[in-house]
Symmetry: C2
Subunit: 194 residues, 2 copies
């Protein structure tokens, strides 16, 4: 019975290398060597390199989910929460480099093995936004006529700006514009009507 879980050690080591060199340039051997183990032991805990990468990505996104959930359940006033949600969402994902890699991969090979993890994050976000907007309308902060399509639009928007922000590294360049954008979104949520 080991003191520290070897599986965690592996994931940490993998995170280090995947983050620095990416999926393809990282070798299973260096991940193992880094924690003074033989390569074989990784396969005792993970079926494949792809599954290991998926685990790393999952942790990355789970971290974002955790932070976003904190914001949503905080007791700030409603409009602050909703603004903070967007800003934090964009900021935290800007450091999720393995997530960026899967985004970039959409243009070439496609990392199909991470589809479920990404779908899970999208499902999480859909749920949160749906709840947030529904609450906002009930409490009179927002005016939304079609709830589901509004959530879809916002999600399309969020995923669209990921390309310039994360793949073209315009996050810092756009930082002030992001703030404007978020303001714009909240304004339109507040004022939407037939």
């Amino acid at each position: 019975m080991p003191e520290i879980d070897v599986k965690d050690l592996i994931v940490d080591s993998a995170t280090k290398f995947f983050s620095k060199y990416g999926f393809h340039k990282t070798t299973m051997d260096e991940i193992a060597k880094n924690i003074h183990k033989a390569k074989g032991v990784i396969y005792y805990y993970f079926r494949s390199k792809e599954e290991l990468f998926r685990e790393v990505l999952k942790k990355e996104l789970d971290n974002v989910k955790t932070e976003l959930s904190k914001i949503i359940s905080s007791n700030e006033d409603y409009m602050t929460i909703i603004k903070q949600y967007f800003l934090t969402r964009l900021k935290l994902l800007s450091t999720a480099v393995n997530y960026h890699e899967t985004l970039k991969a959409d243009f070439f090979e496609k990392y199909n093995f991470v589809k479920d993890v990404r779908d899970d994050f999208a499902a999480y976000e859909y749920k949160q936004l749906l709840w947030l907007f529904t609450k906002g309308e009930k409490d009179g902060h927002l005016t939304i006529n079609n709830m589901k399509s509004t959530v879809n639009v916002v999600m399309m928007l969020l995923s669209s700006i990921e390309f310039p922000l994360y793949l073209q590294n315009k996050y810092s360049e756009y930082e002030s514009t992001i703030d404007e954008l978020v303001t714009m979104i909240t304004v339109s949520l507040r004022g939407m009507q037939k």
Copy 2:
């Protein structure tokens, strides 16, 4: 003294092949052969393959500019014009495949030789939106506190959704969502205030 301008013939032929096969897979020889000319003649009218491609791209974008200008100067009511501008902008560019190629290239080599053409289009759009929004505010249709940053946000938005729409071919999938998005933008332009 030729009946039809050979330069135009070349551009048309080039458009045909660039649109079908892209910049790299198109050869100067097939462009020339297609109009029963020798390759050399292209170099009488154009300095290089890159310049020829730039011409093709320019025509593609000039066409969009023309259509957008028509909309702006039409005598529909203001909110119709502004909605129509966005929808048409996104729709027309969805068929501009050579433009798509330059977008995609941003992730690899970069087609630096088309920078000026793209900058020109961006400058055109900035000018149009600035004029449109300024007019909209003067006539009481819009409420905008920072004109320039509003134009910048809208432009960031437009260029961001180009990635999923044109590079991941989600235009048809997103068509209804685009409509919602445009509505959302107009709502926020109408209702923006400190």
